[in-house]
C-alpha cells in the first residue's frame, strides 16, 4: 500500500519541473557547504560536486536529461541575463581598462587565440572527432558565452559546458602553481592570464591573490567572451 503511494508520488513529481529544480538548488547548496568547509579547496569545486550528485541521481533513477532539464531550465535561463549583467563590473573597471588599454588588448588577443588554437590543435592531433573539436574551441570562455559560441559553430553546447567546467577546475588548480613557477609577479598579468584561461573559476582564485589581480581577471573574463566569439570562426577557418 505504502509502496504504491510512494510510486504515485514519484510519478507525479517526476513529471513536474519542481523536483529537478529543487534537486539542483539543494545539490548546489550542499556543494557550496562542502567547498566552504574544505577551506575553498579547488578540488572541491561546488559546481563539480553538485553536478556529480545530480548525474548519479539521474543515472540511479534512470531519468533522461531532458526530464531533468525541464525543471532545471529555469536556472539555466538566467545565464543570458547574467552575461548581460557582466556589463556592471566591466563598467566599474573601465578606468583600469582604459589606462592599460593597449597592453591589455595585446595580451587578450594573444591569450584568446592561444586558448582556442592550442585546444583545437591538440584535440585534432590526438584524433578527436569534428564535433568534439568544435565543442572544445570556446572552452576558456564563461559558460553562457561558450555555449552560445558552440551552438553557432556547430558544436554541442552541453558538451562545451562540461569542458568549460573541466577547464575552470584545471586552471584553478594548476594556474597558481604555473604562475609561481614562471616567476610572474605582476598582479595584473596574473589576473589577466587566470581570467582568460579559466573564466569565472580563475577570477575567483585571482581575488584570493589580490584585489588588483581579481579585477583584472574579471575584465579578462568579460572581454575574453567578446574576443573569443569573434576569433573562433576565424581560427577554425584557418585550423580545420
Amino acid at each position: 500500500m505504502m509502496g504504491k503511494n510512494l510510486g504515485d508520488i514519484w510519478v507525479y513529481l517526476s513529471a513536474s519541473p519542481l523536483l529537478w529544480l529543487g534537486a539542483t538548488l539543494v545539490a548546489y547548496l550542499a556543494g557550496m557547504h562542502i567547498y566552504t568547509r574544505t577551506n575553498r579547496n579547488p578540488f572541491a569545486n561546488p559546481v563539480a560536486l553538485a553536478t556529480l550528485c545530480l548525474v548519479i541521481l539521474l543515472l540511479v533513477t534512470d531519468t533522461p536529461y531532458t526530464t531533468y532539464f525541464n525543471g532545471a531550465q529555469f536556472i539555466h535561463f538566467l545565464l543570458g541575463p547574467a552575461t548581460v549583467a557582466l556589463a556592471v563590473p566591466l563598467w566599474r573597471h573601465r578606468a583600469d581598462v582604459r589606462r592599460g588599454a593597449l597592453p591589455l588588448a595585446i595580451a587578450m588577443l594573444a591569450g584568446s587565440a592561444t586558448a582556442v588554437a592550442a585546444a583545437v590543435f591538440i584535440a585534432n592531433v590526438l584524433g578527436a572527432d569534428k564535433q568534439t573539436v568544435l565543442s572544445l574551441a570556446p572552452k576558456s570562455v564563461t559558460t553562457p558565452i561558450a555555449m552560445g559560441i558552440s551552438e553557432r559553430i556547430g558544436g554541442i553546447p552541453s558538451l562545451t559546458a562540461a569542458m568549460v567546467m573541466v577547464t575552470g577546475m584545471l586552471g584553478a588548480v594548476f594556474g597558481p602553481l604555473l604562475l609561481r613557477w614562471l616567476k610572474i609577479r605582476d598582479d595584473r598579468a596574473k589576473g589577466l592570464s587566470m581570467g582568460i584561461a579559466a573564466h569565472g573559476v580563475g577570477t575567483a582564485i585571482s581575488y584570493t591573490m589580490s584585489p588588483l589581480a581579481g579585477s583584472f581577471a574579471g575584465i579578462a573574463m568579460a572581454l575574453n567572451g567578446l574576443i573569443t566569439a569573434l576569433l573562433v570562426p576565424l581560427l577554425l577557418a584557418l585550423l580545420m
Binding site: A50, R99, M163, A229
Partner: protein, 142 residues
Amino acid sequence: MVGALATLVVCQLIGEIVVHGLHLPVPGPVLGLLLLVGWFALRGGPSKEMAGTADGILSNLSLLFVPAAVGIVQHGQRFMTQGTAIVLALFGSSVLTIAVTAYAFLWADRRFGGKAPASTTESAGPDPFDTDTDVGNAGGKA
C-alpha cells in the same frame, strides 16, 4: 529589482534579434552586454538598483552553470572514447594560455604602458591622471 531584470532581459532580447537578423557570429547576450555598457555610458553609470541586481546574479553565477554541466551525462560515450584527447587538449591549452597571456602582457606593458600600475580604486568621475594619452604612446617610457 524588476526594473533591472527587465533591462537585462530587454538588452539580451535586442542582442538576440540583431544577431539572428544580421547573422552575426556573436552570441546575443554578448551583444546585450555591449548594449548595456553603451546605455551606462549614456546614463553616466548603472542605477543603484541595476548594480545591486547585477551583483546579486553574478555572486551566484556558479549555480547557473549546474544545469548545463549536468548535460555531461549525455556525453558519457564521448568521454569514454575521446576522454584522453579532451583532457590533454584542455590541460595543454590552459597551461599555454596562462604563460602566453602573462608574458604578452608583461612585454606589451614594458613596450607601450610604462605608467604606474593601474589602481583598483573605483574612480567615478573623470580620471585626473588620464590627461596624457598613454594608449597611443608607442615610444614607451619604460
